[in-house]
Point group: D2
Chain length 338, copies 4
Amino acid sequence: MIVVMSRNATKQEIDNVENKLQELGFKTHPIFGEVKTVIGAIGDKRILNTVNITTMPGVESLVPIMKPYKLSGRELKQTPSVIDIGGITVGSRELAVIAGPCAIESEESFIETALKVKEAGASILRGGAFKPRSSPYSFQGLQEDGLKIMAKAREITGMKIVTEVVDTRDVELVASYADVIQIGARNMQNFRLLHEVGLTSKPILLKRGLAATIEEWLMAAEYIMDAGNENIILCERGIRTYETSTRNTIDISAIPVVKELSHLPIIVDPSHAAGNWKYVGALSKAAIAAGADGLIIEVHIDPPNALSDGPQSLRPSKFKQLMEEFQLVASAVGRSVR
Amino acid sequence: MIVVMSRNATKQEIDNVENKLQELGFKTHPIFGEVKTVIGAIGDKRILNTVNITTMPGVESLVPIMKPYKLSGRELKQTPSVIDIGGITVGSRELAVIAGPCAIESEESFIETALKVKEAGASILRGGAFKPRSSPYSFQGLQEDGLKIMAKAREITGMKIVTEVVDTRDVELVASYADVIQIGARNMQNFRLLHEVGLTSKPILLKRGLAATIEEWLMAAEYIMDAGNENIILCERGIRTYETSTRNTIDISAIPVVKELSHLPIIVDPSHAAGNWKYVGALSKAAIAAGADGLIIEVHIDPPNALSDGPQSLRPSKFKQLMEEFQLVASAVGRSVR
Amino acid sequence: MIVVMSRNATKQEIDNVENKLQELGFKTHPIFGEVKTVIGAIGDKRILNTVNITTMPGVESLVPIMKPYKLSGRELKQTPSVIDIGGITVGSRELAVIAGPCAIESEESFIETALKVKEAGASILRGGAFKPRSSPYSFQGLQEDGLKIMAKAREITGMKIVTEVVDTRDVELVASYADVIQIGARNMQNFRLLHEVGLTSKPILLKRGLAATIEEWLMAAEYIMDAGNENIILCERGIRTYETSTRNTIDISAIPVVKELSHLPIIVDPSHAAGNWKYVGALSKAAIAAGADGLIIEVHIDPPNALSDGPQSLRPSKFKQLMEEFQLVASAVGRSVR
Amino acid sequence: MIVVMSRNATKQEIDNVENKLQELGFKTHPIFGEVKTVIGAIGDKRILNTVNITTMPGVESLVPIMKPYKLSGRELKQTPSVIDIGGITVGSRELAVIAGPCAIESEESFIETALKVKEAGASILRGGAFKPRSSPYSFQGLQEDGLKIMAKAREITGMKIVTEVVDTRDVELVASYADVIQIGARNMQNFRLLHEVGLTSKPILLKRGLAATIEEWLMAAEYIMDAGNENIILCERGIRTYETSTRNTIDISAIPVVKELSHLPIIVDPSHAAGNWKYVGALSKAAIAAGADGLIIEVHIDPPNALSDGPQSLRPSKFKQLMEEFQLVASAVGRSVR
């Protein structure tokens, strides 16, 4: 940590800061510049509340040197993690493609979708039973009935299933059905929920918050890992910017940045990022080319009648055609789609 | 609702959209322009999933005419709401000033702070017992012990107390202690939590999410009101922008905008917006001048040793001096601070 | 255009708006809803200052139906434009790769770079003679001497050259040397400069402004086209967001969105978007996979001693290796790099 | 400057960086931490291109200690600057209120407006002769004829006049008419234009760019000051964020932040920030309360027929009423409006 003293800091103020740092267990190294003094403070004290040093008289700012995350970072674990979902891996040469409708609406339609996305090459089935909707008047999901339908679809198709949990009270229930538990973008900093899923042994699909920095995202992963669960798949799903021609702006750079900072695998959700099925193909190919470890795509057998997210859902036939195109791009970067 | 058909839409596509709209219960009024056709659809069908119409062939876009919120909007209730907290009102001529530390750290320090902010003129006491912290390694709050300390401070000072709830499982507990329940920025779209506090009868302090639009914020209030609790105080606390010289960018315009769109009162949290105690005075005065119904300010008796948010906390003496300055600005706009 | 009247608009106010619209030459079609009235106004009156209608009593908002751009949009010209730069095409099956240093520093180093990027497969040479730098104390470019060096490099290598103009007074000079004139991100809304380059016959590389919407970008192209020059190549170079791990956030979605809205070709500048050479490979591949028509990449023979943008510059050897990888991705989407 | 070496940096890499820093004229102070090494580099070398050090092997990041601006910062000049405009001061106890229409449309209407805003208490007259409009089809201003009208209004009313320049070729002309030259938001990083107005002796009203950081804004002022003109008035006019209920988001925090970092005065443009006349009163009061040194407000005698920015223009009667309210807020913070 580096403490930058302001131009007008007195000798006494500099001494006070040094003393405080030493009291907190740091070794201090002041450097007296022509204009300002900076104090280097050695010691990895992530747990200490050092931010308060900025309130001491004469302090201008505080520059951290160490990353605030440990378990999710590359500093402690240099080799990439591969997450295993009952034989399907995320983070290996083979890309994981997760597909399915936004919400589970009925057993019949869900199983029909499942069969079609499987045929097209998807290896994991998505579907929402508990839906976080921005309006209380929108369809909120079939809840446990939805989970039962998912389980049935797994039985029939042999696919693994991923579904979202939105309440600490439902974690046990969801974990009893799902192969992968999803934490949605709106809950990325619902720390109690992160802790709770961290107590399960299921792989966690951790979506990036709508306005979360990459550092905050890795800190969210840190919460889950700190609770004991290291099986985390990060998912970029678009961030909020001023541009309105897409629902969100997909942050493709997050892929190489996460690969540099963390050992965790990262997949991309082009459907929520774009909010428009027409852009899903282009964004998926971009994600694969940039090094993503997988995709999660919304597919619905009848988008105009979907109860949620119809505009961004692909029809199964379009999804199938795109999967073939994805395979070509994956090959070009030394990966495969299945 | 207006449906805009694309330039190349066929007669058949236009007919299909009209038929679909009629099927959903709308009366339709097509207008055939020189280049494009638009279809006016009459009927307030907020509950219907009309967004899917954009997936129909030939549709370019869909323009809503009605606001998506009803209970929180001005359309149904035109007079401003005044929230009563055991005799203290929010939304009346008198501004509500809420003050106290970010986190409750000990009984002694909390009660000392309470006495000092009361003396300075604050009418409600804030303090965090359950803290949502971005790092799992930071202090997470005293939990129920913190609530007990708050209750004791209320007993001693006669002040009302506001504290945050972060988990559906704690709503009942928190409601049994608090006079006002806070929903933090990170939980503004934790819809299950919104629903749960909506089942209580306590006033709710609903902070705006870090990257929430004003419309999304009012939809969050709608969730609480839909569950039966109409006692909501909105709280602007800064939004995320590209500017880094403050922790967040306070959106002062949100005050007149909310006053126009909603009947709910709105207060401002300058401490979290700025992230720096030095700016709290200027931002508080700006909020009062722009028409805010109150302030929530972090005050700590010893900021350099605070366990949370030290840099943005005022010392009690500074807070007292500012309260006198706030009174002058409040008078200038026909309000009073106490 | 649709005018939405507010809930409380009177009959008289509605009549006034209709009369005003008719006066402006529109045919009006009022639709009386249960709660609000909307008035459809037929007529493509982009030149009229219709925005003022929102100031009329009783008006809530105004919804445009037609896009504000004509020449740059797909509505008038449906087939994609291919820009010809002396035999090199942008917008065809073959991707255009532009490479070179940020600033021209000396004849020797520039020509060495030119030869190396040519060998690696670049077809156009970039280099800055007039540099817009955020600090007045930074290197501002060699100006006309830089242009002469570029011309010499063209002579030696046979490559086409692109360089930026930052002042209306220099347009004639720059046009006399360059094969393509660049309008930088900071000048995207320097309308006089847009007009001036629109009077030349040189192809224009129009970078997207740092915080420009896609619509504003197409309106900037409209300025150039309105002045008579239709040879425009759009260039996405990252937008400003709250995320700080990259210099800007590349908006990959802009590629399919621009392809839908406009007939103009679009290329991508991964170097300025990332601000870090390590991410240039991943972002370039993403751009190709998403359908970009080309790339513009910073290459410097000695990045640590570059006078501008060293951190985001590739060494020629790395560029060469990446070009081979780009070819694979281009093939996968039916394109080629050279 | 602090150079942070990466965890895996070798002894040789650390030595290389130290040597390079010494070569550039810095005194170096390495601090060897448990995990990483950081190198303190003493010397204020703003002109050097030190950013390239980040390209050296083993370097993780570079942390500047000194601000990049000198002339506009508080470090060299600690007392606030007061700008004199022929007897009217900006930065003194008395607030400067600038008012007038967006564009000059005719002599008659401009002079009528001038007389009315003068009567209401404005001391400086605004009006656009050269208009930067986002569409080439919008009214572009009366150009020199507009300047002549302004001069006539000055003669009649005795008010000072401020108008925008958008092209280096017009600086001499505009300077020959205007008392204050405005640099608009879109030209904040038009460095050649900044340099050119820096060569005049007229006070400059420097608007903040739509997506400019405060640091970039001060660097723009630095360009003008570096050219020799120290008479700069900063103007906050709203920044681009994701929120769409106002045209831009006014950054009220910029007022105290600028006051801390710079000695230059700062005024606020609530009209462009809000894009809606209804919010101008609230935002103006917020600006005054937060410590702004003045306001620039759009006033038009007939907003529905304005050729530019009608929706955000106040009628003279409303402006007059607000000026009385502004006086009350100004008094409350120890200032006055006239």
